[in-house]
Amino acid sequence: MRFLLDDEQQAFAHSLDGMLAAAGTPAVVRAWAAGNTAPGRDVWEKLAEAGVFALAVPEQHDGLGPLPVELTVAFTEMGRHAVPGPLVETVAAAAFLDRLGDDAAAAAWLPGIASGKTAASLCLLSESSPYALDAHAADAVFVVDGDAVRLAEAAGPVQPSADPARRPARPLGGTVLARGPEVTAAAEHAADVAALATAAQALGLGRTLLARTVEYARQRTQFGVAIGSFQTVKHRLADMLIALEFAQPLIQAAAVALAAKNPASGREIAAAKVAACEAACATARTALQFHGALGYTEELDLSLWIRKSRALRSAWGTPAACRARVLAP
């Protein structure tokens, strides 16, 4: 057993971190929120160049994957920088197409996803899932409805999320691409990949929220001392670190299980999703509280992280659904 990222994986994380820091994601998020997807697509291209999307695509379709561990590494970094766009959905769509067993469909879309040309969205339609994320910005929107999958024709009006960078909409119309039990099975697999990527993204969000709050608490003074010297502040930030540190190995183990096609991977992913999203939400609340009124403003970039953390909590598996799955026989 070597339950540690290897040097190459760490270098990959490090280089993504550097690239995204240089890209100045807060401005990209604000543009995306305002409907201007161009800066987001520029970042998307850079991510593709770094091989992020190829990790979800098999080699026969110009990919490098599927490599779930590396995917979680990438999503943690993308979460750390709050990158906007249908990142999870694109990777989940790739997992769906890969698993579907329809060579034509795979060949039609997967190379584009791997190269970064194609941003996709995916909606596994149900009462609790009526929307496709960022459908307006996606080149292909797949909708699984019962045992059929269709390629949506258009998206309904954007329903702005509390996270301004998330722009869900109801996918409309479209032709059926495939139908049958393999659609259902591929959709289940895609949901797992999406939940795992969301968990990793949440971990990254939480890491940034904690780091920024620690930094702020060291600088901001009140009553003549740094607020980071108040024991209440220290202890609550310590609790955030604990929550994040114990979420991380759950994500990694879930990725390892998914890579190994371990039948327990669904449970492992659910556990990781709960832990990472609860940790991110708690860290967001803490970050907001200790930044005071400043944290409550839209103009502080931190708000982009705070607002995303709550939205991810229910995306691709509510806490209740995940907990039920952890205990499923």
């Binding site: 899932s129 010297s229 009124a293 806490p319 209740a320």
Partner: protein, 392 residues
């Protein structure tokens, strides 16, 4: 010990309820943190005021009904139960007016209160400064004596409502000589000023959802006549604090808000939730219990005041309790709403026309403003439990 309302109080409740039933807008007004919503809420204040419902606890001569605290609580219960709009005048009514009623001159009262009651003049608070959040004693903005008044300079921030309001009130350092490290509260003066005066710049600040719920104020030699000083110059701190411990401790957030919200949450749970999800049920129950506890705690406080007692450190208990209740209640609602819980209040498909999303955003500020909950807990520990001060 009883919870009985008198026949008069019940009649008052019936009158309020009947009035609200016909006047409350069927659809929520636009968010009061937008220009359009602000105007709509100002218009609503006028409607309230026309029938003397805007400031029921004030004396009749200023537009009120001379209502007792209990009647005020009854009004608030009916008000929020009816789903009536948020109160755009609340900074003036809850923060400025009690101070004026205690320290203002007859001339000030007659001049300032009626237009506040009617919504003609809407007030913003100007307490905080960039370097002093909960630490008001470190204020730096100045009031310099000039002929017939004062010249205000400096910067205020987190001034709620100031993006659209007419006037503001706050504390200014008027006597630098009297200040020293031991007595930073000295030498402050309580002043009122117009937001459109020469020398005032207002920079709106967006809250989490982008709406300009507050603003930064830049003041550069803004002239304020003597008649707009409240109380004695140099005594501003004492003037401001003297009303912090009275009914205001009870009335900052009226229980009616939370009993109504808990009621709406319960209705949402009955209509939308999986009844076998007892985890959600428990959270709904806790919101109902919390709202009831807050209502009863307030009744007890009102009874104590009626019996000649005072409200002191309890207002810190209050603050922590309602602010945490408010967040928990709204988080439960968002979870009940499933995929719609994520939507912004501006989304076409936002449930209840966005009021849950708006309420959640609003609730998140609760533990921060009006003295952070950390400060409130320090106060509770030191003043109510007698624990030693320590350096925190």
């Amino acid at each position: 010990m009883d919870l009985d309302f008198t026949a008069e109080e019940e009649a008052f409740r019936a009158e309020a309820r009947a009035w609200l039933a016909t006047r409350v807008p069927a659809a929520p007004l636009p968010s009061l943190e937008t220009a359009e919503g602000f105007a709509a809420h100002r218009e609503w204040e006028r409607t309230l005021s026309a029938d003397r419902w805007s400031v029921v606890s004030w004396p009749e001569k200023y537009g009120g009904r001379g209502a007792s605290i209990l009647e005020w609580l009854i009004f608030e219960e009916e008000y929020y139960a009816a789903g009536a709009p948020g109160r755009v005048s609340q900074n003036g009514i809850h923060l400025l007016a009690p101070t004026l009623l205690e320290h203002g001159t007859a001339q000030q009262l007659a001049r300032i209160l009626p237009p506040m009651a009617s919504g003609e003049v809407i007030w913003a608070q100007a307490w905080s400064e960039p370097e002093s959040g909960s630490d008001l004693a470190s204020l730096r903005s100045t009031a310099v004596r000039t002929d017939g008044g004062w010249l205000l300079s400096g910067q205020k921030t987190w001034s709620s409502r100031a993006a659209f309001a007419d006037r503001a009130f706050g504390l200014f350092r008027s006597d630098r000589g009297d200040t020293n490290a031991d007595k930073p509260h000295r030498g402050l003066t309580y002043l009122m000023f117009p937001l459109d005066a020469d020398g005032v710049s207002v920079r709106p600040i967006g809250r989490l959802d982008g709406k300009p719920a507050f603003a930064e104020l830049f003041l550069d030699n803004v002239f304020v006549p003597d008649r707009d000083v409240i109380g004695e110059p140099g005594q501003g701190w004492r003037v401001a604090m003297s009303t912090a411990g009275n009914e205001r401790g009870l009335t900052l957030r009226s229980p009616g808000r939370f009993t109504a919200a808990a009621h709406r949450l319960t209705a949402l749970w009955r209509s939308a939730a999986d009844p076998s999800d007892t985890a959600l049920r428990d959270r709904v129950a806790d919101a109902v219990i919390g709202a009831r506890a807050y209502q009863l705690f307030t009744y007890a406080g009102a009874s104590r005041i009626a019996a000649g007692g005072a409200i002191g450190g309890e207002s810190s208990l209050n603050k922590v309790f309602w602010s945490e209740l408010d967040i928990a209640l709204h988080e439960t609602a968002l979870d009940l709403l499933g995929p719609y819980g994520e939507l912004s209040d501006t989304a076409g498909e936002a449930p209840a026309q966005g009021s849950w999303a708006e309420g959640y955003t609003f609730s998140l500020a609760g533990p921060i403003y009006a003295g952070t909950n950390e400060i409130q807990r320090d106060i509770i520990a030191e003043r109510l439990l007698g624990l030693p001060k320590g350096r925190r």
